[in-house]
């Protein structure tokens, strides 16, 4: 395949890392939802591009799922959740945006070091893709642990999962990618439904601590 194809792939993957940083930076709920939609969009683009250059048509399914479910349905659904729970005001972060971003930089550097060393053997397309994917995964995890807010944690998890899809599609000729992405979509659906059904309040935190105190008495 020619150079440009690879460059485009890298462009898109890098774009996802960038959007992940935007996610980290966001401190408004609706803004966050929009940025996540963007994240999913970029993902579906890069998956589509992979489908094209690997001429693996089944990947288009994955791209479509990413586009429809993650870029449209879920953001809308979450939008309603946010309105319903009335938590659109702010996002409570743990230890400021700035430090988090800096830490994110460190994570990207780490994943670069690890991956580029590890994948010395693999073909260039896979190398950078994997490196970017790992950074997206780590950033998503970072977002989950630095946000107190259920919805933004869900978003963190979904961005993490986007990173996984990116890696899976980047792995040339990997079977079961579609199935896996579907399985993941099921997972996501469960999460969102969970938020709906069980009225998980602002944060995961509040539920269990009180539960522990009231019901379990494990604390003394």
């Amino acid at each position: 395949m020619d150079r440009t194809a690879i460059d485009v792939a890298h462009m898109l993957a890098g774009g996802m890392v960038l959007v992940s940083f935007m996610l980290l930076y966001q401190d408004r709920m609706f803004g966050l939802l929009n940025v996540f939609a963007l994240h999913a969009l970029v993902l579906s683009l890069s998956v589509a591009w992979q489908a094209y250059i690997q001429d693996a048509p089944h990947l288009y399914v994955t791209a479509a799922i990413a586009l429809v479910l993650k870029a449209i349905i879920i953001p809308v659904a979450l939008h309603r959740v946010v309105v319903r729970l009335g938590i659109h005001r702010t996002i409570e972060t743990v230890g400021g945006i700035g430090p988090t971003m800096l830490f994110g930089m460190g994570l990207v550097a780490l994943s670069m070091v690890v991956m580029l060393r590890a994948t010395a053997a693999a073909d260039p397309l896979a190398r950078e893709d994997l490196a970017f994917a790992l950074s997206v995964v780590l950033l998503g995890l970072l977002m989950m642990v630095t946000r107190r807010n259920a919805v933004s944690q869900i978003i963190g998890f979904m961005s993490l999962e986007n990173g996984l899809i990116l890696a899976a599609t980047g792995a040339k000729g990997m079977p079961l990618v579609v199935e896996i992405s579907i399985a993941f979509s099921v997972l996501i659906a469960f999460i969102v439904i969970g938020v709906f059904l069980f009225r998980i309040r602002e944060r995961f935190d509040s539920v269990d601590v009180q539960a522990l105190d009231e019901f379990r008495g494990e604390r003394e």
């Binding site: 743990v94 994570l107 780490l110 994943s111 070091v113 690890v114 060393r117 590890a118 780590l138 995890l141 970072l142 989950m144 642990v145 946000r147 107190r148 944690q153 944060r203 995961f204 935190d205 269990d208 601590v209 522990l212 494990e218 604390r219 003394e220």
Partner: protein, 673 residues
């Protein structure tokens, strides 16, 4: 059938008695059935072991079964040492079972005793027969487990539950220590059969010794590993207390001898210093703690600690001698230790039987509520007195003989070259003498306060003589105390093969010596003749009494006791157990227990009574066990907060782990290239 097979059959037999016990639990006659069966089996074991021992026991009899640890199998071995200890377990078990046939009538929870009692016996026999590490530890822990169930048989009392908890935890600790020791002996290849261990000597044999001291010592009750013992032994029903104190501690001694003398290769001189020092400490602290008790069974339990100390002094000396390659003195020391093992198993069981009889007759273990029982239970009193004399190491009974032999071994030790021993052995000799004297005081107190004087409580007044089965057992053991005391030569000769196996030497044959006296080394050096001493005392006492009664008066008149002009019939004016121990507490208590006495004397005109409060501290507990317990609680409390985190915080745990590992990996890969 080979000897080992013959004795090994006792284990399945006892286990089937367990099944029998569970099956017949509802029957009224279950108790007699179970104890009767145990009695028969134990007697059979005793007979077979003695027969083997008296045949000379020169060829170990082996047996291996395809059970237990796969690719190793279960190995069993009957040699002189195990035969001797089988005789001890068999004898103790038989006595306890016979006693229990009567004592069991008073058991309020037979369902929690009958099934575990035979299991306990079987476990002890199995330990002594085991010839590979797995079988050994299996039996060892099985023994602990079944005795634990017996300790908490009366589980409604929280004290017993606490005792049981401390016991089972210490037992687990000991087992793990022994497990580590065996791990060293077996090596990475995992050759767990004792036969393989005998061959090669581990480089870390010193570490093995330390671990065995922890493992076997904690079961035997070496200070400072003894804390569980005075709690657990009294908690069990009395016949079980007798077994635990009289026999199970001996099984621990067996473990020590088996591993250190048999498996662990040639001893090093500094081992003996460690063992002897610990043993001396154990003697003195054990007997002093015993003196401070006023719970009869607890007093006996503490006193077991002292006797274990005496045994380990002998073992330590044997180690020292054989480390310097002096077989004959080593044989003397070892024989002394084993003789004391035998003696203690007899009279400690006897004393616990007596305590049990008192307990059933009065429902009291606290000596402060007893007294005057010699009138109401004269036979029990007589046997108990015999036990007291024997355990106080007074001639002509058996306790004195083993202690005398130990003294003789100490007298031989100046020939030991190493200076550490030169300095520590005399000190330990003094400690041994001191503990012997204190033991006499302890049992004057035990017998005097319990059986003599006036009853201190209504139950003590209503006491009645115990049943015939118990009495038979007690008289049998009392007779044994006397027999072993006046005919020690036969016991020593019986022990000769054991010493021959373990230290390659033996004491001179005793049965040949005229007048049946015993001569450890040479007659010019020292000799003792229990038979003649007994005869002389008996004859001269009877002679004196006869002469006086015949030629002088034999008139007797009863009158009130001399009350110094202030008649006060209440038994409260009697000397109590605590006041009896007070002088000795004044002398030794400050060091041994940080004893503090506080007198609260009201000013003149104030009518409230003056109070004397005494506080004793258990140093071992305060300095070792309490910190451990507190540390565990502290760690548990601190860590418990991890149960209360939020999902986000748990996620951060995962996150940190991931990033950390990735960084390590990056570091590794960067360093590699």
């Amino acid at each position: 059938m080979t000897p080992v097979a013959a004795v090994l059959w006792s284990v399945p037999a006892l286990l089937s008695v367990v099944v029998l016990a569970i099956a017949t639990l509802r029957w009224p006659s279950a108790m007699r059935l179970v104890y009767g069966a145990c009695l028969v089996i134990c007697l059979a074991v005793l007979a077979r072991a003695l027969a083997y021992l008296l045949e000379g026991a020169n060829t170990p009899s082996l047996l291996s079964l395809p059970i237990g640890l796969p690719w190793v199998g279960a190995h069993f071995r009957l040699d002189a040492l195990s035969a001797f200890f089988l005789a001890v377990t068999g004898l103790g078990g038989a006595g306890a079972s016979l006693y229990a046939i009567g004592y069991g009538e008073h058991e309020q929870a037979p369902g929690r005793v009958l099934p575990f009692y035979p299991a306990f016996l079987g476990g002890m026999n199995l330990v002594v027969l085991a010839d590979d590490a797995f079988t050994f530890l299996f039996a060892w822990e099985f023994m602990s487990l079944s005795s634990w169930m017996l300790v908490i048989a009366h589980h409604w009392d929280p004290e017993n539950r606490r005792a049981g908890y401390i016991y089972i935890t210490m037992a687990g600790f000991g087992t793990l220590a022994l497990l580590l020791a065996f791990g060293l002996l077996a090596g990475p290849a995992g050759s767990y059969a004792f036969a393989d261990m005998r061959g090669d000597t581990s480089a870390l044999s010193g570490l093995v010794l330390l671990l065995v001291i922890l493992g076997a010592g904690s079961k035997a009750g070496l200070v400072p590993l003894h804390v569980w013992l005075p709690l657990a032994h009294p908690a069990a029903p009395s016949h079980v207390s007798a077994l635990m104190s009289g026999v199970m501690t001996k099984v621990a001694v067996y473990a020590f001898i088996r591993i250190i003398f048999d498996l662990n290769g040639p001893p090093v001189w500094w081992w003996s210093i460690l063992v002897i020092a610990l043993a001396g400490l154990t003697c003195v602290l054990g007997v002093l703690s015993a003196l401070m008790q006023h719970d009869l069974k607890r007093l006996l339990a503490y006193h077991t600690v002292e006797n274990i100390g005496i045994v380990f002094i002998g073992l330590g000396l044997a180690l020292a001698f054989s480390a310097h390659d002096m077989p004959a003195p080593a044989a003397l020391a070892l024989t002394a230790a084993l003789f004391h093992v035998f003696n203690h198993s007899i009279f400690k069981s006897l004393l616990f039987f007596g305590a049990g009889a008192v307990l059933t007759a009065t429902g009291e273990r606290d000596m402060e509520h007893l007294g005057g029982l010699i009138h109401r239970m004269p036979l029990t009193a007589f046997t108990f007195l015999t036990g007291c004399v024997a355990i106080s190491a007074l001639p002509p009974l058996n306790g004195f003989v083993s202690e005398w032999l130990t003294f003789q071994a100490i007298l031989l030790s100046p020939i030991l070259p190493s200076w550490g021993l030169k300095l520590i052995v005399p000190a330990v000799g003094a400690m041994l003498a001191l503990s012997a004297a204190l033991a006499a005081a302890c049992f004057v107190k035990a017998f005097g306060v319990t059986f003599l004087g006036r009853p201190r409580s209504p139950p003590a007044q209503r006491a009645h003589e115990t049943d015939s089965a118990s009495l038979t057992a007690m008289f049998a053991f009392a007779a044994l105390c006397l027999a072993a005391g006046i005919l020690p030569g036969f016991v020593i000769d019986g022990l000769a093969p054991v010493a021959q196996d373990l230290v390659g030497g033996r004491m001179p044959a005793q049965s040949a010596i005229p007048w049946l006296s015993i001569v450890p080394v040479a007659e010019s050096r020292s000799s003792y003749n229990g038979l003649l001493v007994f005869a002389f005392i008996a004859i001269s006492a009877m002679l004196a009494a006869e002469v006086i009664h015949r030629f002088a008066s034999r008139a007797v008149r009863r009158g009130p006791a001399w009350d110094c002009g202030y008649p006060d019939p209440s038994p409260a004016t009697e000397y109590t157990a605590d006041s009896f121990a007070q002088p000795i507490r004044r002398v030794f208590g400050e060091i041994a227990f940080l004893a503090r006495e506080r007198v609260d004397m009201p000013p003149p005109g104030d009518t409230r009574p003056a109070r004397l409060t005494v506080t004793l501290r258990d140093l071992a507990w305060d300095s070792i066990y309490a910190p451990i317990a507190d540390g565990t609680a502290y760690a548990a409390n601190k860590l418990n907060y991890l149960q209360l985190l939020t999902i986000r915080q748990y996620l951060s745990g995962v996150f940190v782990a991931l990033v950390g590992l990735l960084m390590v990996l990056a570091f590794v890969m960067l360093v590699w290239t």
